[in-house]
Symmetry: C2
Amino acid sequence: MNTTRDQIIQATRSLVEKQGYHATGMNEILRLSGAPKGSLYYYFPDGKEELAQEAISQTTKEVVGRIRANLALFDDPVEAIQVFVSRIADHIELSQFSSGGPLTAVAMETATSSERLNRACREAFAAIQCAFAEKLAANGYAPESAAQLALFITAAIEGGTLLSRTAHSGDPLRRVAEVLALALRSARP
Amino acid sequence: MNTTRDQIIQATRSLVEKQGYHATGMNEILRLSGAPKGSLYYYFPDGKEELAQEAISQTTKEVVGRIRANLALFDDPVEAIQVFVSRIADHIELSQFSSGGPLTAVAMETATSSERLNRACREAFAAIQCAFAEKLAANGYAPESAAQLALFITAAIEGGTLLSRTAHSGDPLRRVAEVLALALRSARP
DNA sequence: GTCTATACGGTGATAGAC
DNA sequence: GTCTATCACCGTATAGAC
């Protein structure tokens, strides 16, 4: 793959994750990536919006892969999910409270202002929910139940991440993981 | 109370709720509120940050009041919470997917960039959780359990709101409300 | 394809008249 | 206290040389 293009996306991901979409400027992205302004608009003719879209879809692929890999570590889906969410809490602390990818920030900021980014976020959330639902469905949960629980898991993680970022501590998300495990057990088939 | 000052805060709340913190400009706030720029810096010498802080703390007071009022409508805390969350879903649809107050947006955008706003958001989340915890504790839940569940409820609402905003539909949050009710019932004392 | 220089609008903030 | 005029700066985006 093209290195310059990839470095630009990488810089965008990192900055948007930390600061949000509107707080991140093109000049900042350029500075971090080391690329010149001309290259940026050569690779992303539609500018910042296209860039953020690419950052989201690329991040989502990685995140979905990481979800599947983590959920495969345990046969029991509830245990797998609890451990996975706890790991996100660790990761948030290690990254000094940069959120779980640029998705949350962009979704919040562009829900009603950018058709293009809103669509990208919808697809991202759908893919993430799908990964959770598969694990549940493969372990005896009824399909509709699995889908609903996957939505709930995603919401709990997003909300827990927000609380942990705000609290500057992984603990809120870890406590969310505990209660989430209880909830999933009580919904067990 | 001073009308001009209040109109400025009101405009800030509405705009930040819809667009986010960084996407909202001072000129925009001025335009919507009808106030002149001089007045704005007279009432809020510390500028945008102070303004947002005021908007958050004012909104939080109202939100906490609304939570208490809604939870008081039903004796059963689980039913009360489920109905309350469903109402948020209705409200999101009615407001054309402006989130539940400026809190979520500011919390996401300023978690690591503004000490002052981060503190305001922490206090806001604490007050909200407190309102939920009280209702649970008043109905037989053990104090630590009530606090943990209140945190979980807050996370679920925040995450569900994000998903509903993104999906441009109240349904995700409504489904979150359903699962949340199941989870709270299974944790019943 | 890569890079520089620049355009133009909007940003948050201030000074000072009234 | 209220308002206007204006500031210096940064935002995204473009033009055009190489």
